[in-house]
């Protein structure tokens, strides 16, 4: 085995090593933070759909995003329910903008804020969450709701104590509403919190939707007999459905929603720029570390040149140092990011998910970052002149 000079040089001075690792880890955290927020934007936005039990969704074709309140006629849903291969078709009513909600306290009530209200048939198990399904019967009572524990604290609820939340009075659109339980869904960039109510209660609160508030549906949740046949049923349903309603698979819907936020809103681009900034900062830090390491050993490296070590050897040396640096910086950066994600999630109610592919992506960026700075630092090394040693 050859003398591991790259490793030795990087790790020789422990203080410098610690600074170097901290520098790279900082850049890693920065990139994780930015991509984390970007992903949180997407994850949180589609969380409500992910939590529902459905294979296909019916919606108004003009509904460009979940938060745009464009609806379709409920009759279309009943039409769909009869199609072969469809097990069930249930409406999901969503209302947001005018749903002013706050905790009702005897003195000094907080300012009402908009909250997203989901109206469902409490007899149907429309959510994956066992917690929600178990509490559905409670919603049969008039003026009752389940509240998302991740809703903004500004609504005036102390979500830490489920028991307490469960017995707090609230006020929705000026009418009293009793919290009978909690669930977990999460906020996103457009919604500060969530309530689940029965569709009967929903129609009572949102009378402005028309004579029959339940006549227009936000999303139609369709479950299939055989989820494997979704393409087939999708086509069958697509042929049948009139204008004014469209059908998509759950996956497509999620992708469309993510695509909207990522491409059509500045928010997605802002976080991408943030990631690039993290990358650039990391590249500069990394270059500084590698260039300093090379300057510190310039006469020794020039001696190696005089001894007959060629350019290829020095390329390998710098690449090895870059890879070691990215590895050493990534691990603490990842661990620190997990902590930061947790803090973010608690502070914002956003879903900060660290998945293996996302971590791999940042690892790749980290390696790339170190290699690019290595490439620049290499120029310094190549210019080391052994003739200056005499």
């Amino acid at each position: 085995m050859k003398t591991p000079i790259a490793w030795r040089n990087l790790t020789h001075n422990k203080r410098k090593l610690a600074v170097a690792i901290a520098g790279v880890a900082f850049a890693v955290v920065l990139m994780f933070q930015q991509t984390g927020f970007e992903n949180a934007l997407f994850d949180s936005t589609v969380e409500v759909v992910k939590q529902t039990r459905c294979d296909l969704l019916l919606l108004n074709p003009a509904r460009f995003s979940l938060s745009s309140e464009l609806r379709f006629n409920r009759n279309h849903l009943q039409l769909a329910a009869g199609v072969e291969g469809i097990k069930s078709a249930h409406p999901l009513f969503i209302d947001n903008t005018v749903a002013l909600f706050h905790a009702k306290e005897p003195t000094n009530p907080p300012k009402p804020r908009p909250i997203r209200v989901l109206g469902v048939d409490p007899k149907k198990a429309l959510f994956h969450s066992v917690e929600i399904t178990a509490q559905m019967p409670k919603l049969e009572e008039p003026d009752t709701a389940l509240i998302d524990r991740l809703s903004k604290p500004e609504f005036g609820f102390s979500f830490q104590d489920r028991q307490l939340v469960g017995n707090t009075q609230g006020s929705l659109l000026g009418h009293p509403l009793e919290m009978v339980g909690t669930f977990k869904m999460g906020r996103d960039f457009a919604h500060e919190g969530n309530l689940i109510v029965s569709q009967k209660n929903f129609s009572k609160y949102f009378q402005y939707r028309g004579a029959d508030p339940l006549a227009v549906v936000d999303l139609g949740l369709i479950q299939l007999d055989d989820p494997g046949e979704s393409d087939l049923v999708l086509r069958r349903l697509g042929d049948l459905m009139p204008e004014g309603v469209t059908v998509v698979t759950k996956e497509d819907f999620i992708q469309r929603e993510v695509g909207f936020w990522s491409a059509s809103t500045p928010i997605g681009i802002i976080f991408k720029i943030g990631t690039v900034m993290g990358f650039l900062v990391g590249t500069i830090i990394c270059y500084q570390i590698l260039a300093t390491d090379i300057s510190d050993h310039l006469s020794e490296l020039a001696t190696l040149k005089a001894m007959g070590y060629g350019t290829a050897y020095f390329r390998r040396l710098v690449i090895t140092e870059s890879l070691i640096l990215s590895g050493l910086g990534f691990v603490p950066g990842l661990l620190l990011s997990l902590v930061v994600f947790e803090i973010n999630a608690q502070a914002t109610g956003l879903i900060m998910a660290m998945t293996v592919p996302r971590a791999m992506f940042i690892l790749l960026l980290t390696i790339l970052m170190c290699l690019i700075s290595g490439w620049f630092a290499m120029k310094k090394l190549i210019s080391a002149d052994p003739a200056s040693l005499f």
Binding site: M1, S299, T303, G308, Y309
Partner: protein, 377 residues
């Protein structure tokens, strides 16, 4: 009368090395730094030929160009003008890849030790053996042996931080010597060493030179090691001002002191004569000087014998240690006899021009020679 014939044999054999055995061959080498108006020439018309196995000490004031010459020989600078061959390879216009390969045959010892602080003494030396992709089984014992030899046996696995200045320098020397290079270039290698380790280092130099035939070029001001030099090259203002083969010169001195013509010369004049002597070889029957020609050379027979002929008739036979043609040094008279080699003969020749330059440098010399040559006639 003469030094033992074996010494003379040796001397004659190595007098003119074959061009193939030259490790360094510098021909009309020029070098400048900067360009345009700022261009400053630092080497002028330098010539130097050094055969294998020679230890050369290079001296000269700082700024005289010796370091530039050393880096040019070491392939660390590109040759601009003139020819520079090392190990028979022309460096002028050589590709970068070939230069890298050539460097592996050169051992560098720099004034600063340039050791990696992160590596032990052993690992620093190993950086050198790894170049030749030797495995550690093979190189490990060699590295330990050389470090032990240099008095670092107890500190093989110490890092430079825990070594003294002299010890670090010895590790650097071990790194330069471990691959038994054909050419060693050293810049003040003993400056940081005490007398004892300095001596050990130059003894190793001598062993390497005689055992492996490696050529060693040392830039130094350390008088303590001048005795190991086969040749001392002095540079002044970008030119080689003197190139003295001290070893040969001292052998020659002891030989020519035995010659009656030079026995009474002072040491400095003897050296001057020895340095000016040229070797001439003649085959059997070849005429060395001819009667009637104007003579400009003085000869001493080193080996063989000659016949003196006046008007075609042999009048005398001269053998090794005898001399002839001495009148030419003092007077511009035509030769009064013909001299012909009777066998394969070698003569040391002193030309009138060289003689005159020694005379110019030391006027009493002429008297010494006149007395020496003519008192005995």
């Amino acid at each position: 009368m003469l030094a033992d014939s074996k010494t003379i044999d040796e001397l004659l054999k190595n007098w003119d090395p074959e061009p193939d055995s030259l490790r360094i061959q510098v021909t009309d080498l020029q070098h400048s730094y900067g360009s345009g108006d700022a261009e400053k020439q630092v080497l002028f018309n330098n010539h130097l030929s050094i055969p294998a196995g020679e230890i050369v000490i290079m001296t000269g004031p700082s700024g005289s160009g010796k370091t530039t010459l050393l880096t040019l020989i070491g392939t660390l600078r590109s040759v601009q003008q003139g020819s520079l061959k090392i190990m028979g390879q022309e460096l002028n216009g050589l590709s970068a890849a070939k230069i890298v390969n050539l460097r592996q045959e050169i051992g560098f010892i720099f004034q600063a030790h340039n050791l990696f602080e992160s590596l032990t003494a052993y690992q620093n030396v190993r950086m050198s053996t790894e170049l030749l992709s030797k495995n550690e089984k093979e190189s490990g014992p060699e590295i330990k042996a050389i470090l032990k030899r240099l008095g670092l046996g107890e500190r093989i696995h110490y890092k430079p931080k825990n070594l003294s200045g002299g010890q670090k320098q010895r590790v650097a020397i071990a790194r330069g010597l471990i691959n038994r290079p054909k050419l060693i270039l050293a810049d003040e290698p003993t400056a940081a060493l005490d007398a004892e380790s300095g001596r050990e280092v130059v003894t190793m130099f001598q062993e390497l030179a005689s055992q492996t035939g490696c050529t060693i070029l040392i830039v130094t001001h350390d008088n303590r090691i001048l005795d190991v030099a086969d040749r001392i090259v002095n540079m002044v203002d970008g030119r080689i001002s003197s190139n003295v083969m001290v070893q040969r010169s001292s052998t020659l001195c002891s030989i020519i002191r035995g010659f009656p013509a030079f026995s009474e010369l002072t040491a400095s004049n003897l050296t001057a004569v020895a340095d000016s002597l040229q070797l001439r070889r003649f085959t059997k029957g070849e005429s060395i000087i001819k009667q009637g020609e104007v003579g400009r050379e003085f000869y001493v027979i080193a080996q063989g014998s000659v016949d003196i002929l006046i008007d075609g008739k042999p009048v005398n036979r001269l053998e090794a240690g005898d001399y002839f043609g001495e009148v030419a040094l003092i007077k511009d008279q035509p030769r009064n006899a013909t001299v012909t080699a009777t066998e394969s003969t070698a003569c040391f020749m002193l030309s009138k021009v060289d003689f005159q330059s020694i005379v110019d440098a030391s006027p009493p010399f002429e008297d010494e020679v006149r007395r020496a040559i003519f008192d005995r006639q």
